[in-house]
Symmetry: C2
Subunit: 745 residues, 2 copies
């Protein structure tokens, strides 16, 4: 039993009362955690500092006065920004009221809520008509749900302080109608398996928990009943609105887009966005409905998801921009502060999470943040080591995945990310078997990410740009095979959503030979693409190199393109090429219309080399070619009337009119340039050649020729990936025997 | 008197002897400084650490054994790199022998010198024929001079240790012939006013001082006699070889290219390169010929030059790439380590230099480095504050200059560099009145710098690329006015060298209104260009903004282009434009042939705006236009068959068929984008318009319209820059009176 004495305020005629543990707050903060935190305040640096910043932010807003404008603007505009600021400020003010006991924060929340309650019943749908589910305060229900998720927390913090007639009034006039609006009145928003619906479910569930409204809580957990829904309806992003199996609600959103490994099928950028509602509602459920054991749901997938997300970052903590992802978003974002703290508290108190929290230098202002702050104070953190790993996709983990190969030695860190997932819902890109490559947090071979300037109003109100569909999602925008200048699945969302790539091998057990391999048989009917990427540590070289093999088998002749999106400046090539006097587009559609052809040549030999300089490092791609293969120097930026695209370059290896073929390349980071010393170290590739020795249905064999003379043979079994299978292959009259799916020596 | 006991070595049959103060070393290290340093060793962290690294480097080389290959390769190639390594190692080994007393270092130097002495007489000119002055060990005499400057120091360190017959042998077989080769045998290299000759002079002078060869020392100081020289001869860079006034030698090279402020006319990149020979020879002269008072020469220009050079850097210590300058070169380069230490020791022990030395974390291993290391140990350093300043050009300081306007408030640092110098010798660019603009060490509006990958062998052997002449030196490659698509002085070196811009105003006394203004009347005969740039702090704005006014008066109609080379992505424009389906070049020659036209439009209004996003900051240029002015979106990269150019963008404001005109623009950094919070702050310009109110021979008046409604009037006196002149101007029937050359209110 904890006693809190609340004094009378000038505005609030209210008796001092006793607040019991069963009373509010009991959502995120609880009476128990408030008491524990108060005992520690002033002795827990990260928590204290976060609280201080929150106080400064809220005090500033209180000084400015309450501003609840009539909704009008798109994202980035004034009314949008003000309503966002309001819910963020209320949420913080609730915490301040509980932890500091200053009633001015409760009064601020109350007065603002009363203002919203007065306005809400008068609101039509938001005047901006762009969304498939227009909101009330915002142009889309998604943002209204954000409002309700945060405001619920503020409301919980003052619920017991409010006179009952006032909370009854707010429940009846503002919150229950708002929850109904976001659910039964907009089923196309609420009843999906999608990050939008997760926010909607959580908004309804959080306010339901605050109001002890079981109907709302159940609606949140299990969704609306399905009746007469249009299964073909699509949202603004082109995604299907309703799940054909009829699943909906918070638990369905946990079941379906998450794989057992905690990978979220939309990709890390949207996972980051969804983690906050997933985890904050889980925390609230754990506090109010511990019998649900929500953190144990699906083998503890919520905690695993945090670990997966942290592993889907580069060396700077920035998320790999798989599918629609804006570059620069990182583990420093506030939803990851919550995620890390909640995962630490409700998980196994993994000290590696503390080192992330230490970088974030901020905690959630609740029991989880308290425990993290105490852990940091006691120096319990350990470095978060990102290891090579596979993250499966699909609710059962059997729909392909992401393979991440990593290397770290002292300051040198390499990361390779191969994507062989499912479509990834409406934010998915058409890039089966595409990859990206990083060195020390710098992009070496990039994934373009999305075409959008999030919240930059001048750029289409901060929303997706049309080039996202016409370029960024197209196959040619990625480091993967494109057949006949058409995108995978012919850019059809329904077809793409019905398929996924198949993992063939993931084996990172040998740090000197890490391999990931996957097949894609549906992107182009009649064609199978089998990509294998290997990170090899060779004792004679300073850094590992990557072998990249794309084996293509088709039932007809095709043209194939394989782009590598590098950065920086071309240093040398070992093939001749011509550059045109005027620049033309590479093709008429499917993203090719956005690419300039800056030059091209014919390989005219069996192995080409291409060296470039970026970030003061020298890189080379050595690639086995047919003599008639074409090499194209390409650059993004054509048909871009509003300059929405980045003018990034790529080199494209083109094979024309072939049925079965193999692309085999070595990708290496081999040297450095120091502009102060003006010294180029190891500016030349370590390899002289890569050659295809054999390629049939069963085996593909490659010879790698080092410049110093050494040779290595790589043999891949193309159809049997069992680890105990014995193989015997004859290559150029020499017999090779090996066990398992590959040979390298 | 100091006693050094030298023991017999296995190879050296030599009696122990007494070394007096008059004996070697007496060039850079002296017997006195060696004794002082030895007393302090182990207690002076930066010095100790530098010595440790030197020892590691030399020990590694000694282990590898002596390698003196027959000269063969260009810069970046094996023999070139090995001979460079040899002189650097010998120089360090000399220091190690003196400071550590370990004879193995002396033996290493002796054996290497004997190897060189054996090879030298057999050497023809270097087989690579590209240079106007081919060397012996290297493809150009410049590198041979580097060799001799460093090797002289090593030789001095073992001179007294060597038996006299051995030093006599080396003097006669290697050093005197080498010095004669670099001077009387290659007068076209030795007898110039140019950084090449400075190295040549110093090489001959240093070895002369070591050998006590007065003839060589005098040759170094005063040059060769001039007889029958071809005054029109040019070097590889297109520079004239011989000074028409007949000046030559070290002192002439101090007189002529340095202004009284210490600005070196070739620009900071080459000044950085020349500082080492200038200062190391000065130190040697001070040690051996103190009566010359070399550090007082020309009012102490050598020390001033170090200060000037440190001020010609951005916030990261990187030199402004004026003229031929490779980006990334910075005050961390080893010649600046020497320069800072020597300037500290022989100058006024300015504690601000210590903070640079602290960043360098390295000192010169002599008395000057000792003093710096002790200063750092005693925490005497003070921040090096880069202030706004003008650096005059010309040996008398009356040939224009560089105006640098800076702003610093907490972490926010702006720097604007306006160039109104002379031609800058053979490395000069044709960019009168061009400017560059920096924020916090990032380039906002860039100077392209040179077109070269120094020491990257694949790129033309590391030498200048042909695009340096066809693009980087051309006027259109710079942020300055181009008339009729021809470069300044019609790209004629002789004409350019005969002229310089004229400073009109430099006044940084008011931190809220810093102004620099200069005129150029010779770049285009019959046309005068008058550029004024002002950095204005306005209390209503977060950061200062820049006013940029180019007033053009001509005796005939012309077309004018003004490019702004920005970086990043276009966010918005307030004018319409079209983008072409295919890209064509902007013009046929003079650098225009290297630029793609990515789109263009007609201003169609009196003030245009262009906003872009770079480095997570929003920038806007607001520019007064005539309705028919053309705006061109340009990008470097056309006619670049080897991809030697960076594909950087610019926006060009084009005025066609006008005689007299004014370009008036506001350049502002106004907002930020945070990709983690996904928040765009102040993404819009603070200005709505800039207008030209009046423009005649006497006055130019501008009105600046702030978005919040405020207006400011700027009036410039175009022909009278006296500070006490009283002006009265009527604009739109309103009278303005002011004293001095400008009015702003």
């Amino acid at each position: 039993m904890i006693l809190i004495f609340v004094s009378c305020s000038d505005k609030q005629d209210k008796e001092t009362e006793i607040v019991s543990e069963t009373k509010h707050p009991n959502l995120i903060l609880t009476n128990k955690s408030v008491a524990e935190i108060k005992l520690q305040l002033g002795t827990i640096p990260v928590f204290d500092e976060t609280l201080k910043l929150a106080k400064e932010a809220v005090d500033l807003e209180i000084e400015k006065g309450i501003d609840v404008p009539i909704p009008k603007d798109m994202a980035g505009g004034y009314t949008h920004t003000q309503h966002k600021l309001n819910y963020a400020t209320m949420q913080k003010a609730g915490v301040l009221f509980q932890l500091l006991g200053d009633e001015k924060y409760a009064i601020y929340i109350r007065d603002m809520l009363l203002t919203y309650a007065k306005m809400f019943p008068t609101l039509p749908l938001h005047p901006q008509t762009r969304s498939y589910s227009r909101g009330k305060l915002f142009w889309q229900c998604l943002n209204d749900s954000n409002w309700l998720v945060f405001t619920s927390q503020a409301y919980d913090c003052i619920y017991s302080w409010l006179p009952k007639e006032q909370s009854d009034y707010l429940n009846k006039t503002l919150f229950r109608p708002y929850a109904d609006f976001l659910s039964i009145e907009t089923p196309q928003f609420f009843n999906r398996v999608h990050n939008h619906s997760t926010w909607g479910n959580v908004a309804v569930g959080m306010i339901g928990l605050v109001m002890d409204d079981e109907e709302l809580v159940n609606r949140a957990l299990y969704g609306l009943k399905k009746e007469n829904l249009d299964l073909k309806a699509k949202d603004n992003d082109g995604g299907f609105i309703f799940d054909k199996d009829g699943k909906a609600g918070f638990l369905a959103n946990l079941d379906s887009p998450f794989s057992p490994d905690g990978f979220y099928t939309e990709g890390p950028y949207y996972q980051r966005y969804a983690m906050y509602p997933f985890l904050i509602f889980a925390e609230a459920l754990q506090n109010k409905k511990p019998e649900l054991k929500i953190f144990e749901y699906k083998n503890g997938v919520l905690i695993k998801a945090v670990d997966a997300l942290l592993n889907l970052t580069d060396d700077n903590g920035e998320f790999f921009p798989l599918n629609d992802g804006q570059k620069g978003m990182s583990h420093y974002t506030s939803s990851l502060v919550s995620a890390v703290d909640i995962a630490f508290y409700y998980g196994s108190q993994n000290p590696e999470l503390l080192s992330i929290a230490q970088k974030q230098n901020e905690v959630q202002l609740d029991a989880s943040g308290l425990m993290v702050a105490i852990g940091l104070k006691e120096n319990k953190e350990k470095p978060f080591i990102k290891k090579s790993m596979e993250l499966t996709d699909g609710s059962k983990g059997d729909e392909g995945g992401i393979g991440i190969l990593r290397y770290q030695k002292e300051d040198e860190k390499l990361a390779l990310v191969l994507k062989y997932t499912g479509q990834g819902l409406s934010h998915g890109h058409y890039d089966k078997l595409s990859f990206s490559f990083y060195e020390n947090g710098d992009e070496v071979l990039q994934d373009y990410g999305l075409a959008r300037f999030v919240n930059v109003e001048q750029k289409n109100g901060g929303g997706y740009l049309k080039e996202n569909k016409t370029f960024a999602k197209q196959s040619i925008a990625h480091n993967t095979i494109v057949q006949n200048e058409t995108s995978h699945f012919n850019y059809d969302f329904g077809t793409g959503s019905a398929h996924h790539s198949e993992k063939y091998i993931f084996d990172a057990s040998n740090p000197n030979f890490q391999i990931v391999s996957a097949k894609e048989a549906n992107a182009y009917p009649g064609t199978e693409i089998h990509r294998t990427m290997i990170m090899v540590v060779d004792e004679s070289l300073e850094k590992p190199f990557v072998i990249d093999i794309n084996k293509i088998q088709s039932n007809k002749n095709n043209n194939y393109d394989l782009p590598y999106y590098y950065f920086g400046q071309i240093i040398s090539t070992n093939f001749d090429y011509n550059t045109p006097k005027t620049l033309s587009i590479l093709g008429k559609k499917n993203g090719y219309n956005h690419i300039w052809n800056e030059g091209s040549g014919i390989a005219n030999q069996e192995s080409i080399q291409f060296t470039w300089l970026d970030n003061r490092r020298f890189y080379t791609i050595t690639s086995a070619t047919d003599k008639k293969d074409e090499i194209i120097f390409a650059r993004i930026g054509a048909n871009d009337p509003e300059f929405n695209l980045r003018k990034d370059p790529s080199i494209i290896i083109r094979k024309k009119g072939v049925k079965n073929t193999v692309y085999a390349s070595i990708i290496e980071s081999h040297g450095t340039y120091d502009p102060v010393k003006e010294v180029a170290n190891n500016a030349y590739s370590n390899f002289s050649k890569i050659e295809i020795l054999k390629d049939d249905a069963n085996y593909t064999a490659i010879k790698i020729q080092f410049k110093e003379g050494k040779e290595k043979i790589l043999i891949l079994s193309n159809i049997d990936n069992s680890i105990d299978k014995k193989h015997s292959v004859s290559i150029n009259s020499k017999d090779y025997t090996f066990t398992g799916s590959y040979y390298y020596n």
